[in-house]
Symmetry: none
Subunit: 210 residues, 2 copies
DNA sequence: ATTAGAGGTGAACAAACGAGCACTATATAT
DNA sequence: ATATATAGTGCTCGTTTGTTCACCTCTAAT
Protein backbone atom coordinates (compact mmCIF):
# COMPACT_ATOMS: atom_id res chain seq x y z
CA UNK A 1 0.00 0.00 0.00
CA UNK A 2 1.01 3.59 -0.58
CA UNK A 3 1.92 6.03 2.11
CA UNK A 4 -0.85 7.74 4.01
CA UNK A 5 -2.17 11.04 2.78
CA UNK A 6 -3.39 13.91 4.92
CA UNK A 7 -7.00 14.95 4.47
CA UNK A 8 -5.92 17.99 2.53
CA UNK A 9 -3.69 16.00 0.23
CA UNK A 10 -6.42 13.47 -0.38
CA UNK A 11 -8.86 16.22 -1.33
CA UNK A 12 -6.40 17.71 -3.74
CA UNK A 13 -5.59 14.36 -5.26
CA UNK A 14 -9.27 13.67 -5.81
CA UNK A 15 -9.73 17.07 -7.38
CA UNK A 16 -6.95 16.41 -9.86
CA UNK A 17 -8.34 12.98 -10.62
CA UNK A 18 -11.71 14.52 -11.24
CA UNK A 19 -10.36 17.38 -13.28
CA UNK A 20 -8.52 15.05 -15.62
CA UNK A 21 -11.62 12.95 -16.00
CA UNK A 22 -13.71 15.96 -16.97
CA UNK A 23 -11.28 17.97 -19.05
CA UNK A 24 -8.89 15.46 -20.48
CA UNK A 25 -5.89 17.34 -19.14
CA UNK A 26 -4.57 18.16 -15.69
CA UNK A 27 -5.18 21.44 -13.86
CA UNK A 28 -2.59 24.16 -13.32
CA UNK A 29 -1.38 25.08 -9.89
CA UNK A 30 -3.57 28.17 -9.98
CA UNK A 31 -6.63 26.23 -10.97
CA UNK A 32 -6.11 23.96 -8.02
CA UNK A 33 -5.50 26.95 -5.81
CA UNK A 34 -8.72 28.58 -6.88
CA UNK A 35 -10.72 25.49 -6.03
CA UNK A 36 -9.30 25.26 -2.53
CA UNK A 37 -8.97 28.99 -1.96
CA UNK A 38 -5.23 28.81 -1.71
CA UNK A 39 -3.98 32.20 -2.86
CA UNK A 40 -0.36 31.25 -3.43
CA UNK A 41 0.79 28.80 -6.04
CA UNK A 42 3.52 27.80 -3.66
CA UNK A 43 1.03 26.41 -1.21
CA UNK A 44 -0.40 24.27 -3.96
CA UNK A 45 2.98 23.22 -5.23
CA UNK A 46 3.95 21.80 -1.90
CA UNK A 47 0.90 19.60 -1.93
CA UNK A 48 1.80 18.39 -5.37
CA UNK A 49 5.36 17.71 -4.23
CA UNK A 50 4.03 15.73 -1.30
CA UNK A 51 1.79 13.69 -3.58
CA UNK A 52 4.73 13.00 -5.87
CA UNK A 53 6.92 11.98 -2.96
CA UNK A 54 4.27 9.61 -1.70
CA UNK A 55 3.91 8.09 -5.11
CA UNK A 56 0.48 9.27 -6.14
CA UNK A 57 1.48 11.63 -8.91
CA UNK A 58 4.18 11.97 -11.49
CA UNK A 59 5.37 15.40 -12.52
CA UNK A 60 7.55 15.52 -15.58
CA UNK A 61 9.95 18.40 -15.61
CA UNK A 62 8.52 21.81 -14.98
CA UNK A 63 6.26 21.98 -17.97
CA UNK A 64 2.81 23.36 -17.85
CA UNK A 65 0.16 20.95 -16.62
CA UNK A 66 2.69 18.15 -16.62
CA UNK A 67 0.96 16.38 -13.79
CA UNK A 68 -0.11 12.84 -14.36
CA UNK A 69 -1.77 10.33 -12.14
CA UNK A 70 0.12 7.22 -11.21
CA UNK A 71 -3.22 5.67 -10.74
CA UNK A 72 -4.78 3.98 -13.76
CA UNK A 73 -2.93 0.71 -13.34
CA UNK A 74 -3.67 0.79 -9.67
CA UNK A 75 -7.39 1.14 -10.26
CA UNK A 76 -7.46 -2.32 -11.70
CA UNK A 77 -5.50 -3.54 -8.75
CA UNK A 78 -8.15 -2.40 -6.35
CA UNK A 79 -10.64 -4.34 -8.35
CA UNK A 80 -8.41 -7.32 -7.90
CA UNK A 81 -7.52 -7.80 -11.52
CA UNK A 82 -3.93 -7.08 -12.28
CA UNK A 83 -4.22 -6.58 -15.94
CA UNK A 84 -2.01 -5.15 -18.60
CA UNK A 85 -3.17 -4.37 -22.05
CA UNK A 86 -0.51 -5.54 -24.45
CA UNK A 87 -0.37 -5.35 -28.22
CA UNK A 88 -1.02 -8.42 -30.27
CA UNK A 89 1.43 -8.75 -33.11
CA UNK A 90 0.09 -10.59 -36.12
CA UNK A 91 2.68 -11.11 -38.75
CA UNK A 92 6.17 -9.73 -38.40
CA UNK A 93 7.07 -7.73 -41.46
CA UNK A 94 10.77 -7.93 -42.16
CA UNK A 95 12.56 -4.64 -41.84
CA UNK A 96 10.04 -3.09 -39.49
CA UNK A 97 10.40 -2.93 -35.74
CA UNK A 98 8.28 -5.66 -34.27
CA UNK A 99 5.94 -3.21 -32.58
CA UNK A 100 5.49 -1.07 -35.66
CA UNK A 101 1.91 -0.17 -36.32
CA UNK A 102 1.83 -2.30 -39.41
CA UNK A 103 2.29 -5.37 -37.30
CA UNK A 104 -0.22 -4.72 -34.55
CA UNK A 105 -3.40 -6.68 -34.90
CA UNK A 106 -5.18 -5.96 -31.68
CA UNK A 107 -4.97 -5.89 -27.98
CA UNK A 108 -4.88 -8.52 -25.35
CA UNK A 109 -5.53 -8.33 -21.66
CA UNK A 110 -3.20 -10.41 -19.59
CA UNK A 111 -3.19 -11.09 -15.90
CA UNK A 112 0.30 -10.28 -14.72
CA UNK A 113 -0.32 -12.05 -11.48
CA UNK A 114 0.06 -15.17 -13.52
CA UNK A 115 2.25 -14.21 -16.39
CA UNK A 116 5.08 -12.47 -14.61
CA UNK A 117 5.71 -9.85 -17.25
CA UNK A 118 6.13 -6.11 -17.36
CA UNK A 119 3.83 -3.75 -19.27
CA UNK A 120 6.19 -3.71 -22.22
CA UNK A 121 5.37 -7.28 -23.07
CA UNK A 122 3.67 -8.13 -26.31
CA UNK A 123 1.79 -11.05 -27.75
CA UNK A 124 2.68 -12.84 -30.94
CA UNK A 125 0.67 -15.18 -33.13
CA UNK A 126 2.47 -18.39 -33.83
CA UNK A 127 2.93 -19.62 -37.38
CA UNK A 128 4.27 -22.98 -38.33
CA UNK A 129 4.75 -26.11 -36.31
CA UNK A 130 8.36 -25.85 -35.24
CA UNK A 131 7.51 -25.93 -31.55
CA UNK A 132 4.91 -28.65 -31.58
CA UNK A 133 6.74 -30.87 -29.11
CA UNK A 134 6.64 -28.06 -26.60
CA UNK A 135 2.88 -27.87 -26.95
CA UNK A 136 2.92 -24.72 -29.04
CA UNK A 137 0.97 -25.04 -32.24
CA UNK A 138 -0.05 -22.88 -35.18
CA UNK A 139 -2.49 -20.19 -34.16
CA UNK A 140 -1.36 -20.09 -30.55
CA UNK A 141 -0.49 -16.74 -29.06
CA UNK A 142 2.72 -16.42 -27.09
CA UNK A 143 3.32 -13.75 -24.48
CA UNK A 144 6.77 -12.32 -25.00
CA UNK A 145 8.86 -10.33 -22.58
CA UNK A 146 11.16 -8.17 -24.68
CA UNK A 147 14.81 -8.68 -23.86
CA UNK A 148 18.00 -9.19 -25.78
CA UNK A 149 19.39 -12.05 -23.77
CA UNK A 150 18.10 -15.43 -22.78
CA UNK A 151 18.99 -18.31 -20.52
CA UNK A 152 19.68 -21.82 -21.62
CA UNK A 153 16.50 -23.72 -22.32
CA UNK A 154 14.17 -20.76 -22.58
CA UNK A 155 11.83 -20.44 -25.51
CA UNK A 156 12.64 -17.25 -27.35
CA UNK A 157 11.49 -15.08 -30.20
CA UNK A 158 14.43 -14.20 -32.39
CA UNK A 159 15.16 -12.53 -35.66
CA UNK A 160 17.14 -14.77 -37.96
CA UNK A 161 17.87 -13.56 -41.46
CA UNK A 162 15.12 -10.95 -41.32
CA UNK A 163 12.52 -13.43 -40.17
CA UNK A 164 10.96 -13.78 -36.76
CA UNK A 165 11.22 -17.27 -35.40
CA UNK A 166 10.18 -19.14 -32.29
CA UNK A 167 12.71 -21.61 -30.94
CA UNK A 168 14.22 -22.99 -27.79
CA UNK A 169 17.50 -21.30 -26.95
CA UNK A 170 20.32 -23.67 -26.13
CA UNK A 171 23.75 -22.85 -24.75
CA UNK A 172 26.21 -25.71 -25.10
CA UNK A 173 29.93 -25.60 -24.81
CA UNK A 174 30.14 -21.87 -25.41
CA UNK A 175 28.04 -22.09 -28.55
CA UNK A 176 24.47 -20.95 -29.06
CA UNK A 177 21.79 -22.92 -30.82
CA UNK A 178 18.18 -22.54 -31.77
CA UNK A 179 16.39 -25.80 -31.22
CA UNK A 180 13.02 -26.40 -32.86
CA UNK A 181 10.75 -28.64 -30.83
CA UNK A 182 9.95 -30.71 -33.86
CA UNK A 183 11.85 -33.76 -34.99
CA UNK A 184 11.56 -32.72 -38.62
CA UNK A 185 13.55 -29.53 -38.19
CA UNK A 186 17.29 -29.21 -37.64
CA UNK A 187 19.19 -27.58 -34.82
CA UNK A 188 20.52 -24.21 -35.93
CA UNK A 189 23.82 -22.83 -34.75
CA UNK A 190 23.67 -19.09 -34.31
CA UNK A 191 27.19 -18.64 -33.16
CA UNK A 192 28.86 -15.84 -35.12
CA UNK A 193 25.72 -15.07 -37.08
CA UNK A 194 25.36 -11.36 -37.60
CA UNK A 195 21.75 -11.68 -38.69
CA UNK A 196 20.65 -13.18 -35.38
CA UNK A 197 19.04 -11.14 -32.63
CA UNK A 198 17.07 -12.15 -29.60
CA UNK A 199 13.82 -10.23 -29.41
CA UNK A 200 12.31 -11.63 -26.27
CA UNK A 201 11.57 -14.58 -24.05
CA UNK A 202 8.29 -16.45 -24.11
CA UNK A 203 6.54 -16.19 -20.76
CA UNK A 204 3.28 -17.80 -21.62
CA UNK A 205 1.01 -19.29 -24.22
CA UNK A 206 -2.64 -18.69 -25.04
CA UNK A 207 -4.88 -20.73 -27.21
CA UNK A 208 -8.47 -20.03 -28.20
CA UNK A 209 -11.04 -22.54 -29.35
CA UNK A 210 -14.06 -21.28 -31.15
CA UNK B 1 -19.15 9.36 -38.93
CA UNK B 2 -17.05 12.45 -38.50
CA UNK B 3 -15.79 14.61 -41.31
CA UNK B 4 -12.87 13.39 -43.31
CA UNK B 5 -9.38 14.23 -42.19
CA UNK B 6 -6.38 14.81 -44.40
CA UNK B 7 -3.46 12.45 -43.93
CA UNK B 8 -1.57 15.10 -42.09
CA UNK B 9 -4.41 15.86 -39.77
CA UNK B 10 -4.93 12.21 -39.05
CA UNK B 11 -1.27 11.78 -38.17
CA UNK B 12 -1.42 14.70 -35.81
CA UNK B 13 -4.60 13.49 -34.20
CA UNK B 14 -3.06 10.10 -33.61
CA UNK B 15 0.02 11.67 -32.14
CA UNK B 16 -2.06 13.65 -29.67
CA UNK B 17 -4.06 10.58 -28.80
CA UNK B 18 -0.89 8.65 -28.20
CA UNK B 19 0.73 11.43 -26.23
CA UNK B 20 -2.21 11.65 -23.86
CA UNK B 21 -2.16 7.91 -23.41
CA UNK B 22 1.50 7.92 -22.48
CA UNK B 23 1.80 11.11 -20.48
CA UNK B 24 -1.62 11.68 -19.04
CA UNK B 25 -1.79 15.19 -20.42
CA UNK B 26 -1.91 16.70 -23.89
CA UNK B 27 1.12 18.00 -25.80
CA UNK B 28 1.87 21.67 -26.43
CA UNK B 29 1.89 23.11 -29.92
CA UNK B 30 5.65 23.10 -29.87
CA UNK B 31 5.83 19.48 -28.80
CA UNK B 32 3.61 18.55 -31.71
CA UNK B 33 5.69 20.71 -33.99
CA UNK B 34 8.88 19.03 -32.93
CA UNK B 35 7.46 15.60 -33.68
CA UNK B 36 6.39 16.57 -37.18
CA UNK B 37 9.26 18.95 -37.84
CA UNK B 38 6.99 21.92 -38.15
CA UNK B 39 9.05 24.89 -37.12
CA UNK B 40 6.25 27.35 -36.54
CA UNK B 41 3.63 26.98 -33.86
CA UNK B 42 1.23 28.62 -36.23
CA UNK B 43 1.47 25.75 -38.64
CA UNK B 44 0.57 23.39 -35.84
CA UNK B 45 -2.18 25.60 -34.55
CA UNK B 46 -4.00 25.54 -37.83
CA UNK B 47 -4.03 21.77 -37.75
CA UNK B 48 -5.47 21.88 -34.28
CA UNK B 49 -8.07 24.40 -35.43
CA UNK B 50 -8.99 22.12 -38.29
CA UNK B 51 -9.36 19.18 -35.94
CA UNK B 52 -11.55 21.25 -33.66
CA UNK B 53 -13.70 22.40 -36.56
CA UNK B 54 -14.14 18.85 -37.74
CA UNK B 55 -15.12 17.76 -34.27
CA UNK B 56 -12.18 15.65 -33.26
CA UNK B 57 -10.77 17.87 -30.58
CA UNK B 58 -11.97 20.37 -28.03
CA UNK B 59 -9.79 23.29 -27.11
CA UNK B 60 -10.88 25.21 -24.05
CA UNK B 61 -9.82 28.81 -24.08
CA UNK B 62 -6.21 29.51 -24.85
CA UNK B 63 -4.70 27.87 -21.84
CA UNK B 64 -1.63 25.75 -22.06
CA UNK B 65 -2.19 22.18 -23.11
CA UNK B 66 -5.93 22.69 -23.04
CA UNK B 67 -6.46 20.22 -25.82
CA UNK B 68 -8.77 17.35 -25.14
CA UNK B 69 -9.95 14.51 -27.28
CA UNK B 70 -13.63 14.50 -28.07
CA UNK B 71 -14.19 10.84 -27.67
CA UNK B 72 -12.27 9.60 -24.68
CA UNK B 73 -15.29 7.56 -23.66
CA UNK B 74 -15.58 6.02 -27.07
CA UNK B 75 -11.90 5.28 -27.21
CA UNK B 76 -11.81 3.97 -23.72
CA UNK B 77 -14.48 1.55 -24.68
CA UNK B 78 -12.55 0.36 -27.68
CA UNK B 79 -9.42 -0.03 -25.69
CA UNK B 80 -11.28 -1.22 -22.73
CA UNK B 81 -10.29 -4.57 -21.57
CA UNK B 82 -13.32 -6.66 -21.23
CA UNK B 83 -12.13 -8.74 -18.42
CA UNK B 84 -13.75 -11.32 -16.26
CA UNK B 85 -12.27 -12.63 -13.11
CA UNK B 86 -12.84 -16.34 -13.01
CA UNK B 87 -11.93 -18.92 -10.42
CA UNK B 88 -8.97 -21.19 -10.93
CA UNK B 89 -9.71 -24.76 -9.94
CA UNK B 90 -6.72 -26.71 -8.79
CA UNK B 91 -7.50 -30.30 -8.09
CA UNK B 92 -10.97 -31.66 -8.40
CA UNK B 93 -11.91 -33.47 -5.24
CA UNK B 94 -14.27 -36.31 -5.93
CA UNK B 95 -17.69 -35.86 -4.44
CA UNK B 96 -17.54 -32.08 -4.27
CA UNK B 97 -19.04 -29.72 -6.79
CA UNK B 98 -16.29 -28.52 -9.03
CA UNK B 99 -16.58 -24.93 -7.86
CA UNK B 100 -16.64 -25.82 -4.19
CA UNK B 101 -14.37 -23.64 -2.13
CA UNK B 102 -12.06 -26.53 -1.42
CA UNK B 103 -11.18 -26.68 -5.07
CA UNK B 104 -10.53 -23.03 -5.75
CA UNK B 105 -6.89 -22.13 -5.91
CA UNK B 106 -6.99 -18.55 -7.06
CA UNK B 107 -8.29 -16.09 -9.56
CA UNK B 108 -7.58 -15.52 -13.18
CA UNK B 109 -8.33 -12.53 -15.36
CA UNK B 110 -9.40 -13.41 -18.85
CA UNK B 111 -10.14 -11.19 -21.78
CA UNK B 112 -13.54 -12.25 -23.02
CA UNK B 113 -12.98 -10.36 -26.21
CA UNK B 114 -10.73 -13.23 -27.09
CA UNK B 115 -12.04 -16.15 -25.14
CA UNK B 116 -15.72 -16.04 -25.99
CA UNK B 117 -16.97 -17.13 -22.62
CA UNK B 118 -19.50 -15.94 -20.11
CA UNK B 119 -18.67 -14.83 -16.59
CA UNK B 120 -19.56 -18.24 -15.23
CA UNK B 121 -16.51 -19.78 -16.85
CA UNK B 122 -13.80 -21.27 -14.73
CA UNK B 123 -10.22 -22.31 -15.18
CA UNK B 124 -8.81 -25.72 -14.49
CA UNK B 125 -5.27 -26.92 -14.02
CA UNK B 126 -4.41 -29.82 -16.22
CA UNK B 127 -2.93 -33.02 -14.79
CA UNK B 128 -1.57 -35.84 -16.81
CA UNK B 129 -0.64 -36.07 -20.44
CA UNK B 130 -3.78 -37.45 -22.01
CA UNK B 131 -4.17 -34.45 -24.33
CA UNK B 132 -0.61 -34.02 -25.39
CA UNK B 133 -1.33 -34.38 -29.10
CA UNK B 134 -3.71 -31.44 -28.87
CA UNK B 135 -0.95 -29.32 -27.41
CA UNK B 136 -2.29 -29.46 -23.87
CA UNK B 137 0.28 -30.57 -21.36
CA UNK B 138 0.59 -31.05 -17.63
CA UNK B 139 0.43 -27.76 -15.80
CA UNK B 140 -1.55 -25.96 -18.47
CA UNK B 141 -4.67 -24.12 -17.48
CA UNK B 142 -7.80 -24.61 -19.52
CA UNK B 143 -10.66 -22.13 -19.67
CA UNK B 144 -13.90 -24.01 -19.36
CA UNK B 145 -17.36 -22.84 -20.24
CA UNK B 146 -19.74 -24.79 -18.03
CA UNK B 147 -22.37 -26.71 -19.96
CA UNK B 148 -23.83 -30.18 -19.94
CA UNK B 149 -23.70 -30.84 -23.63
CA UNK B 150 -20.99 -30.73 -26.22
CA UNK B 151 -20.55 -30.93 -29.97
CA UNK B 152 -18.58 -33.54 -31.81
CA UNK B 153 -14.86 -32.83 -31.68
CA UNK B 154 -14.88 -30.37 -28.82
CA UNK B 155 -12.50 -30.78 -25.94
CA UNK B 156 -14.48 -31.19 -22.77
CA UNK B 157 -14.11 -31.54 -19.06
CA UNK B 158 -16.15 -34.45 -17.82
CA UNK B 159 -16.71 -36.40 -14.68
CA UNK B 160 -16.13 -40.08 -15.20
CA UNK B 161 -16.34 -42.41 -12.24
CA UNK B 162 -15.99 -39.55 -9.79
CA UNK B 163 -12.91 -38.21 -11.48
CA UNK B 164 -12.56 -35.09 -13.57
CA UNK B 165 -11.03 -35.77 -16.92
CA UNK B 166 -10.05 -33.81 -20.01
CA UNK B 167 -10.83 -35.47 -23.33
CA UNK B 168 -12.04 -34.85 -26.81
CA UNK B 169 -15.72 -35.59 -27.19
CA UNK B 170 -16.60 -37.74 -30.17
CA UNK B 171 -19.99 -38.57 -31.53
CA UNK B 172 -19.97 -41.51 -33.91
CA UNK B 173 -22.88 -43.55 -35.11
CA UNK B 174 -25.12 -42.57 -32.25
CA UNK B 175 -22.51 -43.47 -29.67
CA UNK B 176 -20.43 -41.15 -27.52
CA UNK B 177 -16.73 -41.51 -26.88
CA UNK B 178 -14.02 -39.78 -24.95
CA UNK B 179 -10.87 -39.64 -27.01
CA UNK B 180 -7.54 -38.93 -25.34
CA UNK B 181 -5.14 -37.08 -27.59
CA UNK B 182 -2.39 -39.49 -26.72
CA UNK B 183 -1.60 -42.66 -28.55
CA UNK B 184 -0.93 -44.50 -25.33
CA UNK B 185 -4.47 -44.12 -24.03
CA UNK B 186 -7.56 -45.92 -25.25
CA UNK B 187 -10.78 -44.52 -26.59
CA UNK B 188 -13.48 -44.72 -23.94
CA UNK B 189 -17.08 -45.35 -24.74
CA UNK B 190 -19.38 -43.44 -22.45
CA UNK B 191 -22.59 -44.64 -23.94
CA UNK B 192 -24.92 -45.82 -21.21
CA UNK B 193 -22.51 -44.91 -18.46
CA UNK B 194 -24.34 -43.49 -15.49
CA UNK B 195 -21.18 -42.14 -13.93
CA UNK B 196 -20.46 -39.86 -16.88
CA UNK B 197 -21.35 -36.18 -16.90
CA UNK B 198 -20.19 -33.34 -19.09
CA UNK B 199 -19.03 -30.44 -16.98
CA UNK B 200 -17.99 -27.99 -19.62
CA UNK B 201 -16.31 -27.25 -22.91
CA UNK B 202 -12.74 -26.03 -23.19
CA UNK B 203 -12.62 -22.58 -24.76
CA UNK B 204 -8.98 -21.80 -24.32
CA UNK B 205 -5.64 -22.81 -22.91
CA UNK B 206 -3.11 -20.88 -20.88
CA UNK B 207 0.43 -21.82 -20.13
CA UNK B 208 2.95 -20.00 -17.95
CA UNK B 209 6.70 -20.24 -18.09
CA UNK B 210 8.63 -19.09 -15.08
C1' DA C 1 9.86 25.79 25.94
C1' DT C 2 11.12 24.20 21.74
C1' DT C 3 11.20 21.70 17.56
C1' DA C 4 9.07 19.72 13.53
C1' DG C 5 5.57 19.20 10.14
C1' DA C 6 1.63 20.69 7.55
C1' DG C 7 -0.52 24.55 5.44
C1' DG C 8 -0.57 29.22 3.73
C1' DT C 9 0.85 34.41 1.96
C1' DG C 10 2.59 37.71 -1.46
C1' DA C 11 5.59 39.14 -4.61
C1' DA C 12 8.94 38.69 -8.27
C1' DC C 13 10.84 36.21 -12.21
C1' DA C 14 12.21 33.36 -16.28
C1' DA C 15 10.58 30.08 -19.26
C1' DA C 16 7.01 28.17 -21.81
C1' DC C 17 2.93 28.82 -24.23
C1' DG C 18 -0.94 30.16 -27.47
C1' DA C 19 -2.25 33.81 -30.68
C1' DG C 20 -1.53 36.52 -34.45
C1' DC C 21 0.38 38.49 -38.83
C1' DA C 22 2.47 38.77 -43.41
C1' DC C 23 4.38 35.94 -46.68
C1' DT C 24 5.56 31.55 -49.45
C1' DA C 25 4.68 27.01 -51.70
C1' DT C 26 2.05 23.41 -53.80
C1' DA C 27 -1.39 21.12 -55.21
C1' DT C 28 -6.43 20.65 -57.30
C1' DA C 29 -10.46 22.24 -59.31
C1' DT C 30 -12.86 25.72 -62.00
C1' DA D 1 -5.60 31.82 -65.77
C1' DT D 2 -7.46 31.93 -61.26
C1' DA D 3 -9.40 30.83 -57.31
C1' DT D 4 -9.34 27.68 -53.13
C1' DA D 5 -7.61 24.68 -49.59
C1' DT D 6 -3.74 22.70 -47.30
C1' DA D 7 0.75 23.26 -45.33
C1' DG D 8 4.57 25.79 -43.62
C1' DT D 9 8.08 29.91 -42.10
C1' DG D 10 9.76 33.52 -39.08
C1' DC D 11 8.70 36.66 -36.16
C1' DT D 12 6.45 39.37 -32.31
C1' DC D 13 3.45 39.89 -28.46
C1' DG D 14 1.07 39.27 -24.16
C1' DT D 15 -0.24 35.88 -21.04
C1' DT D 16 0.06 31.73 -18.40
C1' DT D 17 2.65 28.83 -15.69
C1' DG D 18 5.99 26.70 -12.53
C1' DT D 19 9.63 28.07 -9.42
C1' DT D 20 11.61 30.31 -5.60
C1' DC D 21 12.19 33.44 -1.87
C1' DA D 22 11.34 34.99 3.12
C1' DC D 23 7.92 34.92 6.36
C1' DC D 24 3.47 33.61 8.99
C1' DT D 25 0.09 30.31 11.58
C1' DC D 26 -1.38 26.33 13.83
C1' DT D 27 -0.97 21.74 15.89
C1' DA D 28 1.37 17.86 17.95
C1' DA D 29 5.32 15.73 19.84
C1' DT D 30 9.57 16.18 22.61
Amino acid sequence: MKKELTDRQKSIYEFIENFVQIHGYPPTLREIGKEFEIASTFGVKRHIDALVKKGYLIVEGSASRAISLVDPAEKAEEENLNVYSIPLVGRVAAGFPILAEQNIEGKLAIDHNLFSVKPDAFALKVRGDSMINAGIVEGDVVIVSPQTNARNGEIIVAMLADEATLKRFIVKGGDYYLMPENDNYPLISVKNREDFTIIGVVKGVYRFYN
